[in-house]
């Protein structure tokens, strides 16, 4: 299945890409995707993901914490957003 990923802030700089699509196995969970991203973009990316306080991980616009956390299931066509804290007003 295909999962689209959008990167923002320092994660975009580390991934050197704004948006990408990963092919995942059926039944994959968010934790699998994050692990996959770490392998793809290296240790610095992996460290940043675990260190960013208030990192928002959105699956189709909903925070992952309300979808099962890192165990949240993924399905074909999902969009996952990795959004470090930013503020508007």
């Amino acid at each position: 299945m295909n999962v689209e990923i959008l990167f923002f802030g320092q994660l975009r700089e580390l991934a050197a890409v704004r948006q990408t699509t990963f092919v995942m196995s059926d039944g994959a969970r968010l934790v699998d995707l994050i692990k996959h991203l770490g392998e793809e973009y290296g240790d610095a990316f992996r460290r940043e993901v675990s260190n960013i306080r208030h990192l928002q991980i959105l699956i189709n616009g909903q925070r992952h914490t309300f979808l099962g956390g890192m165990e949240a299931p993924l399905k074909d066509g999902d969009t996952v957003v990795l959004l470090p804290p930013i503020f508007g007003g």
Binding site: G61, R63, V81, P85, F87, G88
Partner: protein
């Protein structure tokens, strides 16, 4: 009393007279300052039914007890008035340097009433004051007004708050501008224009007394440490509010007059794009965040255009309503509104309203003077801004605000006026964030996001707890929490971005206040929370006295009945009835009327409002 200058200046423009009075100990202890002073004074001063643009109406400028000190981010002033746009109580706020200058000049508040027979500006300097002729300033834009007043008084460091042509012409959402910072929303500039008051100019050098300088310095150090260790600080310092991506990825960036929640090509408005156009950073008095920016277009249709900003709301105001992500227009339109003296949110919303009416055939080219108001075509925007400011053509009716414009146009246009209590909604679709929406619905000034911003829903802030933005349950209590916390900090007057990021706690704020004033109660967060709740309830009672109630806490049907058609908030509506009932219950208000109960008013020391 330390922390305050203990003086209020009263100006009667009709009689051209002045008087001074002291701050009462009761006012200080019960309402702390800032927004507390403003609502208490306005409630006491204005009789119910006062014409907002009449001789008896008042404009009250207030600075806070921490303005002018080296505590961080307290450089804001507020203006209080009865709004000509909403008919309600109104508070309007701006950063910059005016609040501190007001304190250095010797005053905590300035109350202006009456109508001058010719244009004037008020000149306040080190405890002295006079009215000066402003006939030659009539019609000038805000930047030029600043320049000429400083030249006339031979001092480039004078701080100015003024109106532009929009305020002079009675546009109902004209703002008050100080060095390109705006007291926006609600028409404070309209009230100022109706008084023939072009500007207030202030300069001062007076010392501020602090009750305990050592304790105050320690509290400031603690505040600064809180900033330095906050991980959001660096990002916000760099880009301020120029972040359109967050509401687009949540599917709640209002597009086509709130019909959709994602703007096509929104990536062209990301903060990284504005970063490329930034030529300088700007700051408010004693604020280490430096979140402001001077932004300038180098190429394209708007080459050479620049503005201070644009802030997030303004970026939305000139893109979402016309459904086109054009970064150059956001900068050019921002500067034009600043020059002409317009609130950008209501201006953009009025333009979006006109686009929808045109698309539906409720207005035609005959009404628009030939302008083609079709989504994706933003060429008419700059012209419409000028038409609104100068009340020309279609702009004359849009200058009344969308609620009144819809009433005059008729034929069901009211369903396309996206407003609460007459104040146009800002750049958040309530269907995507229920507490954020509930604040817009219940705010005492109409749909104002800064009255009770919900960072829990928008940014995922986990204080007081993490919440599901789509959930209904518990949102009444959360909305009350955000509204009361905002009121608490606005006694200071603290910039609202600081608590949104969790950069200052009530405890440290209490230390700053008590060290500055010597009032022990101010160090108690529980006491400050009750002051916040008291302020919000007194604002409500001002409106109740004017006839407001549950009938005014209402959204347009689009938001409550039409599911969001697509995107990350697809299928969502705003569940008004259960959310509002939950909110009234959390507030201790009568669920049938939306009015605070007698028990609640007595509990908060607001018994004097009962039966008024």
């Amino acid at each position: 009393m330390a922390g305050y200058q203990n003086r209020i200046l009263r100006v009667d423009l009709t009689k051209r007279t002045f008087s001074e009075e002291s701050l009462s100990k009761e006012l200080i202890h019960s309402f702390v300052g800032g927004r507390g002073f403003g609502v208490k004074l306005l409630y006491a001063e204005l009789k119910p039914g006062t014409d907002p643009l009449g001789e008896e109406s008042e404009l009250i400028f207030v600075s806070g007890p921490l303005a002018g000190t080296n505590a961080q981010s307290f450089g804001r002033y507020k203006v209080f008035f009865k709004s000509p746009l909403t008919g309600s109580y109104f508070k309007s706020s701006s950063g910059g340097h005016l609040a501190s200058e007001m304190k250095f000049a010797g005053f905590d508040a300035i109350i202006v009433k009456g109508i001058a027979d010719t244009p004037v500006f008020l000149w306040i300097h080190d405890g002295q004051y006079e009215l000066r002729d402003a006939t030659y300033l009539r019609g000038l834009d805000c930047d030029d007004t600043h320049t000429l007043i400083r030249e006339e008084l031979s001092d480039p460091n004078i701080r100015v708050a003024c109106i532009g042509p929009a305020g002079e012409r009675g546009v109902k959402y004209a703002g008050i501008f100080s060095d390109r910072r705006t007291c926006g929303r609600g028409g404070g500039g309209t009230v100022m224009g109706s008084k023939n008051l072009k500007a207030i100019a202030i300069r001062g050098h007076q010392r501020l007394e602090l009750a305990d300088r050592e304790a105050f310095a320690a509290a400031v150090r603690e505040q600064i440490k809180g900033y330095q260790t906050n991980r959001e600080f660096a990002t916000f310092s760099e880009s301020g509010t120029q972040n359109s991506e967050f509401t687009n990825v949540l599917g709640m960036f209002p597009t086509k007059n709130f019909r959709e929640g994602v703007l096509p090509n929104w990536e062209q408005l990301e903060r990284t794009e504005y970063n490329k156009l930034r030529v300088r950073k700007t700051r408010c008095y004693s604020c280490m965040i430096h979140c402001g920016s001077i932004t300038k277009m180098g190429t394209g249709n708007y080459a050479g255009a620049w503005s201070e900003g644009p802030e997030y709301e303004t970026i939305w105001a000139f893109t979402g309503p016309v459904a086109l992500a054009d970064i150059g227009l956001t900068i050019a339109a921002d500067k034009l509104c600043d020059d002409l003296g317009l609130d950008t949110i209501s201006t953009g919303s009025a333009i979006g309203f006109a686009y929808e009416l045109y698309e539906r055939g409720l207005i035609t080219k005959k009404d628009t003077g030939g302008l083609e108001l079709t989504h994706g075509n933003n060429e008419p925007v700059m012209q419409l801004i000028r038409q609104i400011a100068y009340r020309q053509g279609l702009g004359d009716i849009l200058a009344e605000g969308t609620r009144e414009a819809a009433r005059r146009i008729g034929h069901g246009a009211d369903q396309y006026a996206i407003q609460v209590k007459g104040l146009e909604l800002p750049a958040y679709d309530p269907r995507g964030a229920k507490s954020h929406g509930l604040n817009l619905m219940t705010s005492n000034i109409g749909a104002d996001h800064n009255t009770g911003y919900a960072p829990q829903e928008i940014f995922g802030a986990p204080f007081p707890r993490e919440v599901d933005r789509f959930a209904v349950e518990g949102k009444g209590e959360l909305t009350k929490w955000n509204q009361d916390l905002t009121a608490l900090f606005e006694t200071g007057i603290l910039c609202s971005f600081v608590p949104s990021m969790g950069m200052l706690s009530e405890e440290v704020y209490g230390k700053l206040l008590s060290a500055a004033t010597g009032i022990a109660d101010f160090s108690d967060p529980a006491y400050l929370w009750q002051v916040g709740e008291k302020i919000f309830n007194l604002e409500r009672m001002f409106n109740v006295r004017e006839g407001f109630g549950i009938k005014d806490d209402v959204f347009p049907k689009r938001l409550t009945e039409e599911p969001m058609p697509a995107g990350p908030s697809a299928g969502q509506v705003f569940e008004a009835e259960p959310l509002l009932t939950d909110y009234y219950q959390a507030r201790g208000w009568d669920a049938k009327t939306g009015i605070p109960t007698k028990a609640k008013l007595n509990e908060l020391g607001l018994g004097f409002t009962i039966g008024k």
